[in-house]
Symmetry: C2
Amino acid sequence: MALIVQKYGGTSVGSTDRIKNVANRIAKFKAAGHDVVVVVSAMSGETNRLVALAEAMQEYPDPREMDVILSTGEQVTIGLLSMALKNIGLDAKSYTGWQVAVKTDTSHTKARIDSIDADHIHADLKEGRVIVVAGFQGVDENNDITTLGRGGSDTSAVALAAALKADECQIYTDVDGVYTTDPRVVPEARRLKTISFEEMLELASLGSKVLQIRSVEFAGKYKVRLRVLSSLQEGGDGTLITFEEDEDMEKAAVAGIAFDKNQARINVRGVPDKPGIAYQILGAVADANIEVDMIIQNVGDEGTTDFSFTVPRGDYQRTLSILNEVQKNIGAATVDGDNTVCKVSIVGVGMRSHVGVASTMFRTLAEEGINIQMISTSEIKVSVLIDEKYLELATRVLHSAFGLDDPEKVAQA
Amino acid sequence: MALIVQKYGGTSVGSTDRIKNVANRIAKFKAAGHDVVVVVSAMSGETNRLVALAEAMQEYPDPREMDVILSTGEQVTIGLLSMALKNIGLDAKSYTGWQVAVKTDTSHTKARIDSIDADHIHADLKEGRVIVVAGFQGVDENNDITTLGRGGSDTSAVALAAALKADECQIYTDVDGVYTTDPRVVPEARRLKTISFEEMLELASLGSKVLQIRSVEFAGKYKVRLRVLSSLQEGGDGTLITFEEDEDMEKAAVAGIAFDKNQARINVRGVPDKPGIAYQILGAVADANIEVDMIIQNVGDEGTTDFSFTVPRGDYQRTLSILNEVQKNIGAATVDGDNTVCKVSIVGVGMRSHVGVASTMFRTLAEEGINIQMISTSEIKVSVLIDEKYLELATRVLHSAFGLDDPEKVAQA
């Protein structure tokens, strides 16, 4: 007897047949004696359809009205899933965001959850009902409908699990868990039975699409037991995100390898080495709303410095244009760049207790003749920027070098 | 400077281009200095799409969840229209039913409005905003979403006009007003500039599809000045529904002629003439949820009576089956019927002051050799049941006999 929050994304509820499948899966948990609260997304394709309608009205649709429109997607799904549950004999009841109520700030299209009132849901659970909640949406202090931004249904589920003090929050998706790396690149990639919260956070922010990063942060803040599972296959255990530091010192140093092709490098060379230079360069980029990822500053010759950073590829040309302007003001020698680079990262809490992880990474890449252009590190991760043509090779050799090919060595797998 | 409530139906907002047209029409009223509150339906086709999804889940979809799903149709339209208004420089704000709040009883899929809170809308109007309200929906005492049933958006508009004490409620539709009869049957049919509330009520319930009958009742109860206009053409005055008895005694006795093909006659002959017979016959029909329209009981021969009534054609065979059962119990001689009949009605408050209206009707039909099978009357209407093959002929000759062909005679036209 546990209280379980389950979240099903747009693909899992993408047709009337798939919604019926979800109902059947929920019925098994009910039959096992569990209380179930379900969070659902809009049926796949529906959000895009609504966005297209809005964009036919206004080039930049009004955010408040956009949320009024977008929130209908999940509202349709909660009604349909409740009907499907009733159709197989379960008592079910739907809740929109405002009915719960999921209170958010007023930032339309990217609101943050302030509080959740769990009283009504607890009362309905006591009556034996399955509760079906619209993900992605809430209501602000003005009684206006808000949405949490793309992927926000994960956050809704975790926040609900926290408010309800649920025993587990299960995120059903089209993969059966978190892998040591992308199986399409490394066929030897293995599913992790557990991963630490910090590792998951690094993997999520490094471009792994399994979980939305805000939902992982939320789980960390409220210590929600979070599990990623497949909605397509039956009976798997998925991957559990844990909060306990692993006591097993034999655990592999590296839990997984992430990569990100959406990187472009910008170099500003021969800048006079004066205070405020970094701000002059990056301030102009930030003002243009361009997100900067890796940043490196090196001492150059004769009182000058070289400055490099990466931006999303879509912002590459715009960043170059901005810096060609800035170049005159700061007296830089040259501005150039490269938009055929990628970032490969090794992630693992084991790095704290295992020395030489970074040097193993560098040596492994050097042995394959792969040149490292930039390096950035945190306590549990090392990222390198390399030529994108080496992405698959680098990921494969690192996967092997850190023992992730070996079923015996992969963390608790 | 007036406060106007405008209602646009599904066809008027059936595409993004049509929604833009509605926005342009509203802009003209704003430019003339009026305050405007707009009530909209779901885009045409949307409600059917949602019903089909629901019926794929459950043969008889749960009414509470049906309302959760159906209410999204209007919610999308209010967002889109608000965006279209903002796009042409007007300040606009959308309201769902619960945001207003339109409080209803708990009868899902056919709820009735209990009260409307006009405070928020008044405050927004003071700020110069156009208010866009989702028709057809409300919220009950449990915070559950309710809908008012098909055509309920007309009722939403009239109820809002009453709550806001609006100067006029304008119902935009695909016809440009109320006609003396259907122009497809009588090309000489003329648009009425005004029609009394009672006449409109009779015409609405007699099968004229212009206005939903509950909205007319609501307008009568709260004395809302109601006008029917075309959303397709510019500049017409439509038809105004008035509450003042017309002081002009020269006004035509008959305002309009309605007809209804959805009629089938049932005859129960040779019934012993005892108290309770009518109940035994009609009780069985009512128990089967079949709506009875005209009813006639005639004295027959030797202590027996003949009993006739009409039902919708779709219920004809079922009604005959039920009465074949009842026949034995009540000792009726025969049960038969005819499903090739129709009802033609003349309607007009002028009947009160003009004698001989009914006899003019009967004489006119007799001169054309049209046999009258049943007659039913109210203070301002006379309905006759005739063979359906005479429907067009009867309507044309009555239209002419009551001077409705003549532009000079048609009420204030």
